[in-house]
């Protein structure tokens, strides 16, 4: 035992102070333990006073920064762009680095963290980020200084302007101050491209309302939503539409539950929430919409100018082409008409994008005919930023090909990947004299650049956004730039000034309040992330037009000047600006109003492209069009519908697969006249027959180590085509599908179809639920109609069913209520959990072995009968009688006094018994020690340990946040209980959830969110029959099928199963059941293939 050196005790001053007591109970137990077990180990010095780690060092600040208290988080209100939108969030920083993104509680919306913000956080720390400017010489890239890069850009801009060539910009959707600067810089040659399929909507509003904008919708007021494939719960409308839908779906708000009907060939994550799914063939949406519209106009006796839109409506033809029943069209129209003024029709993004302009026109017209304008649809808080279509990108490329573009600024957009461009694009780009890549990441597009000037991302830069009119969001840097990057605004300002650019703003349009005085005062003020331009330039004099031009010295000044001019006004600006910075936004949204002018252009439905099998591409619910594909979280979090990870896969219906003789997960070849891809196939019920669906977003050839080579690129199957409004045509192409291999080695985290009769998901009749809401029920849970096994409440009350008493919780028992009616399956909770809890990303190979590390998973369960999906987030249920606790031999997991099911990693030896015994399979084992590649490690949450190989881990209800909140509350009172509002959305998942599906709170408090939810008629516990007494309870999903026919006649068809089965109108209630039975048979036939 010589290796174990003992401490030199004699020099320890604490020795004398040690209390000398007689044989205490503890010592007695110790003595007993010695007698009964091996004592050799402790004698070996295992508990000797020694540290096995080397001495660590403390490096204090030389000068302590004011805002930082070491060890205490600092929050910065900032704004993250989410495609064609933006959202205010708080960046949580520790010791000067962003560690997480949390909801901004001061925002005038329900709390939410968009998953784009979380993915942007990981993108911020991506090892693939460009670390500095680079210049390309032939095929080789070399590093340059910023000064040299900016000079090169300035020279090129000057040269181009002298030669009469244009300086063009191609970037993602931008709003706010940057828009004006870009406009000035490029002389109006800026093209903003987003692959969200909404370009047609802007074209339609131009045609119908005379102005190019995206109309505003208020889903919260809707009682009936008819969507033509709009992904309004993932990417179509940003967080706002998710929040509004959740409110409309909430039975406690105005005693109604919105009924959501979907007309689309595929469900997708958004469509999976639909109550009725009309499986319209791709390309038939416009005809169906016309037919619905004509019927609505007749029912509501609409006689406005938009009536002309419906001129070509033909119900029978539409039904035939769509492959749906004519009664279904009748049913949609009836429901819209019944909910006149409270319905909304949504045109459909990419999924509905066979002729998006036409579809949007018809949808607008239906909304007008249903008297929705000014109520759920209309003008006012609209997106007025530039909405460019594929035609605009085409024009830009044509200009490049013609040699008329001198400098092309290629911002954070990837047209080469996201658009079906052919090989000529390289030729076109080669004609541009200087292409400058401004993205912080290398990708397929900026591989063509001559100069890479990596700009700072949203966590490092100033900026502002205006996602809807009047909602001004401010962005402030949360940390100093990670690498040698500069603000895009600064790059433009500096080079523009050097090239002697001027504001384009017309004096006539200028508003008052020239900003020059304000600028003068701020020019010298240095912010913490200010980038001081090195290219010398005289500060330009204030433009008499009111345009900011290139006057402000820095981008921060520019943003401030713009806010002073347009948003806050000069009065008391400094104070109001600081307030806005603190809140993160300035809300001056106009009310929703009816559009002023309405025209009624005629609409022609697109012709059918032919072919028995049609391709449908759709935006991936997590990765979108592929911007975040290189972020490991976006690949690791399972696809909501199929459970697939780290791959692309073709999705077909069981019927299609059977007719083509394709087995589930076989390797298939999908070809169109544009191209061919090979990938796996997933057979599931969320796809209409005769359709093959493929998600966008994967199949990168470059663009980072995590995205490259993962999956296939769906746009390679498309051709660049535009519709009458210049919008991209995504859908309608014919495709061929054939099996080429037995197995595609797809990796999926779930393969099940439904819950095998285990009642993990339950439903409550929607009409009844809407009447009573979640008001306390005398018999909680009765509304679901399931009592399995039947439990006699008298026995429960008498305690006869339980061997042991429930643990006592004097002050807190933390609990959660998960509303499956609100959950839309978006996966934001899962990503937020990865960000908060330092979850390792294990990758495809290990997920294939079944070793994903997600603490919260979103289960997708199909209804056994109808085409309905329920999403169910499952995390550790923190059971009162936890099966895991009693089996741990070393007490590494036990029940805390706060009712949490604690997991002490350091005590865990890794028997994995707890996990075997967890009926929820919520525990995750560290099969290996995972290393966070630099600089991902900078994002690690310092309040949460990083687990090493051999220990179990699981959801902790974000105990570190509980600890922090408790500690903060203790400053007020040592003994009082924390109020409910401090807890309600405390865990990362609840914080991120845009639909407020997760409510956290103290179950001891009778008025807390989860306690109230427990009293609801639709409350149930997952696997509650195991008597685990979970702290998580679920709320059943509202089900429109279970209700009796209250609409009479035709409406009953919808109760059967989404009207897909013909003449349901002739059936009564029983007929609905008959239908369901028939469908079950089909579902089973499909399941045999789809499941395993």
């Amino acid at each position: 035992m010589g290796i174990f050196r003992r401490a030199p005790r004699d020099s320890s001053p604490s020795e004398a102070a040690e209390p000398k007591t007689s044989l205490s109970r503890r010592h007695f137990v110790a003595a007993l333990g010695l007698g009964t077990s091996a004592s050799a180990l402790s004698a070996c010095g295992w508990d000797d006073n020694r540290y096995y780690t080397p001495i660590e060092q403390i490096l204090p600040y030389v000068v302590h920064p004011d805002q930082i208290v070491p060890g205490t988080p600092t929050f910065y209100a900032t704004t993250i762009g989410t495609g064609r939108g933006a959202w205010p969030v708080n960046a949580r920083t520790r010791e000067g680095r962003v560690v997480n993104v949390v909801a901004n509680p001061q925002a005038p919306f329900a709390r939410a963290v968009p998953k784009e913000a979380l993915l942007a956080l990981q993108r911020h720390y991506s090892p693939d980020r460009l670390k500095g400017p680079k210049v390309r010489d032939g095929g080789t890239w070399s590093d340059v200084t910023w000064e040299a890069g900016l000079e090169k850009l300035t020279a090129a801009v000057k040269k181009a302007r002298q030669a009469g060539k244009t300086v063009a910009y191609l970037g993602p959707s931008r709003t706010g101050a940057l828009l004006e600067l870009l406009d000035d810089y490029t002389d109006g040659n800026a093209v903003f491209w987003e692959s969200d399929g909404r370009d047609g909507e802007a074209a339609a509003s131009e045609r119908m309302f005379g102005r190019r904008f995206l109309p505003a919708y208020d889903l919260a007021k809707a009682k009936y939503i008819l969507s033509f494939g709009a992904e309004f719960l993932s990417s179509w409308g940003g967080e706002l539409s998710k929040i509004q839908y959740a409110s409309a779906r909430n039975p406690n708000v105005d005693h109604s539950i919105v009924r959501y009907a979907l007309v689309s060939p595929i469900m997708g994550q958004t469509g999976a929430n639909a109550d009725d799914w009309y499986k319209a063939a791709p390309g038939s949406e416009v005809e169906v919409a016309l037919a619905v519209g004509a019927l609505v106009a007749r029912k509501t006796s609409y006689n406005g100018p938009a009536l002309g839109v419906f001129a070509g409506a033909d119900t029978a033809k539409a039904a035939a082409r769509a492959g749906i029943d004519a009664n279904a069209i009748e049913e949609m129209a009836s429901r819209i008409a019944e909910n006149k003024g409270a319905s909304v029709v949504l045109p459909g993004g990419v999924t509905g994008g066979a002729a998006s302009t036409e579809l949007a026109l018809v949808c607008y017209a239906i909304n007008l005919a249903a008297n929705n304008d000014g109520r759920t649809f209309g003008d006012g808080p609209v997106f007025e930023g530039p909405v460019h279509g594929a035609a605009d990108v085409g024009k830009l490329l044509a200009a490049a090909k013609a040699g008329s573009i001198g400098v092309l600024l290629l911002d954070d957009v990837n047209p080469v990947f996201e658009l079906p461009l052919d090989a000529s694009v390289a030729e076109s780009l080669s004609k541009v004299e200087l292409i400058v890549g401004l993205s912080s990441h290398p990708d397929e597009s900026n591989a063509n650049a001559h100069l890479l000037l990596p700009t700072s991302d949203a966590f490092e830069d100033w900026g502002d956004e205006e996602p809807v009119k009047g909602l001004h969001l401010v962005r402030q840097p949360s940390m100093t730039p990670l690498y040698d990057s500069r603000s895009l605004g600064d790059v433009l300002l500096v080079t523009g000034r050097a090239a002697e650019m001027k504001s384009r703003r017309q004096p006539a349009a200028a508003e008052s309040e020239p900003a020059a005085e304000a600028n003068a005062g701020k020019a010298g003020k240095a912010g913490k992330a200010d980038v001081v331009a090195s290219v010398e330039a005289e500060p330009a004099a204030a433009d008499p037009s009111g345009g900011l031009g290139f006057g402000p010295t820095t981008w921060r000044d520019y943003v401030q000047a713009r806010w002073q001019r347009d948003v806050l006004g000069a009065d008391n600006f400094a104070t109001r600006w600081n307030e806005a910075l603190g809140r993160g936004l300035h809300d001056a949204r106009p009310r929703l109003s009816a559009p002023g002018t309405v025209m009624g252009p005629a609409v022609t439905a697109p012709a059918d492209a032919g072919g028995s099998l049609k391709l449908v591409v759709f935006l991936h619910p997590i990765r979108g069009a592929g911007k975040f594909s290189n972020e490991p979280w976006s690949q690791e979090v399972a696809d909501p519908m199929t459970g697939g990870v780290w791959d692309s896969w073709v999705e077909v219906s069981p019927g299609t697969a059977a007719s083509l003789g394709i087995e589930n997960e076989a390797l298939v070849e999908l070809s169109t006249d544009a191209g061919t891809v090979q990938t796996g196939v997933v057979i599931h019920r969320g796809i209409a027959d005769g359709v093959v669906a493929l998600a966008l977003g994967n199949g990168h050839e470059a663009g980072g180590r995590y995205a490259a080579g993962v999956g296939v690129n769906a746009t390679r199957l498309l051709k660049l085509a535009t519709d009458s409004g210049g919008a991209m045509v995504w859908q309608g192409g014919a495709a061929q599908l054939k099996a080429v291999g037995a197995s595609a080695e797809l990796v999926r985290t779930f393969r099940h179809e439904h819950d095998q009769g285990k009642h993990h998901v339950r439903s409550a009749p929607a009409e009844e639920l809407a009447k009573v809401g979640d008001a306390p029920s005398a018999h909680p849970g009765d509304m679901t109609g399931i009592h399995h096994p039947p439990r006699d409440p008298r026995l429960v009350a008498a305690g006869s069913l339980e061997f042991y008493d429930l643990p006592e919780h004097p002050q807190y028992r933390f609990g959660m209520a998960v509303d499956t009616n609100a959950c839309t399956g978006c996966g934001a909770c899962a990503i937020a959990c990865y960000a908060e809890n330092n979850l390792a990303v294990v990758g495809k190979a290990l997920i294939k072995k079944g070793r994903e590390m997600n603490w919260i998973r979103v289960n997708r369960y199909w209804d056994t009968e109808a085409d309905r999906v329920t999403f169910m987030p499952v995390m550790c249920q923190q059971c009162g009688h936890a099966p895991c606790e009693s089996v741990c031999p070393v007490l590494a997991t036990y029940h805390t006094i706060d009712g949490l099911n604690a997991m002490v990693y350091n005590r865990c030896v890794g028997t994995r018994y707890c996990a075997n015994n967890c009926p929820y399979v919520a525990r995750r084992f560290n099969f290996h020690t995972y290393r966070w590649p630099e600089p991902f490690n900078l994002q690690l949450n310092p309040d949460v340990g990083v687990r090493s190989a051999g220990v179990m881990e699981k959801c902790t209800f974000c105990v570190q946040r509980i600890r922090e909140t408790k500690s903060a509350y203790r400053d007020q009172s040592f003994t009082d209980t924390m109020p409910d509002d401090a807890l309600r959305q405390l865990p990362a998942c609840a914080d991120a959830c845009p639909s407020q599906a997760i409510t956290f709170g103290n179950l001891v408090d009778p008025r807390s969110g989860p306690t109230e939810a427990r009293r609801s008629g639709r409350s149930y516990e997952m696997l509650g029959d195991l008597n685990t007494f979970p702290a998580v309870n679920y709320l059943a999903k509202a089900n429109f099928h279970a209700t009796g026919g209250h609409h009479g006649g035709h409406a009953d068809a919808g109760h059967g199963d989404a009207g897909a089965h013909g003449d349901a109108g002739a059936h009564g209630d029983a007929g609905g059941h008959g239908d369901a039975g028939e469908h079950e048979g089909k579902a089973k036939a499909g399941k045999a293939k789809a499941d395993h």
Partner: protein, 187 residues
């Protein structure tokens, strides 16, 4: 052992090939009032034990009982006291002292302590290890097919009478020897 033996004592060793002869010898010796002889056998024969101890049970059983009782008590002790040391960590909602779960540990401790004490008792009572046992007993034939009857501390005066009995009962071989120097035959 041999060192403490008085010089005037005598060793007498008889080797028997047959069990009935041995038993007769034991009977006759006992009848004649001779005690303090040991009998070795290559196998346990209950007749020998009967003849020598007349059915008195071995005291090893008290060791077993003591061990078992200690086991059950300490089993209960360590389980309940250690559970009481962390009363708030009641895994799975079970009570702090949960007899059904502790019963298993108590049972195992009972068996373990009972077994170990039996072993100790056996060691104590048999006098094992017996490496220094009297050389007269160290005869390899006794583990093979012969029985032995050995006086290690006989009174020299009884020598003739004992030898006579032994020879009369059919001993294959009878040797006598000095207390201090005793050669082991056939070693």
């Amino acid at each position: 052992m041999s060192a403490s033996l008085p010089a005037e004592t005598l060793r007498i060793k008889a080797v028997y090939g047959h069990l009935d002869c041995l038993l007769t010898a034991i009977e006759r010796l006992k009848h004649s009032g001779f005690q303090g002889f040991q009998v070795t056998s290559p196998l346990p024969r209950h007749e020998i034990e009967e003849a020598l101890y007349e059915g008195r049970p071995s005291p090893v059983r008290w060791w077993t009982l003591t061990g078992a009782v200690t086991g059950i008590v300490s089993g209960f002790g360590i389980t309940s006291l250690t559970a009481a040391a962390w009363p708030m960590a009641n895994p799975g909602g079970k009570p702090v002292v949960s007899l059904p779960t502790f019963a298993v540990i108590m049972f195992e401790c009972t068996i373990l302590f009972g077994g170990l004490c039996t072993f100790i008792g056996m060691i104590v009572h048999t006098g094992l290890p017996a490496w220094g046992i009297d050389k007269a007993l160290q005869d390899p034939r006794f583990s093979d097919d012969k029985f032995g009857l050995v006086f290690t501390g006989a009174n020299p005066g009884d020598r003739e009478r004992i030898v006579a009995i032994l020879q009369a009962t059919g001993a294959v071989e009878v040797t006598t020897g000095d207390a201090t120097v005793y050669e082991v035959p056939n070693a």
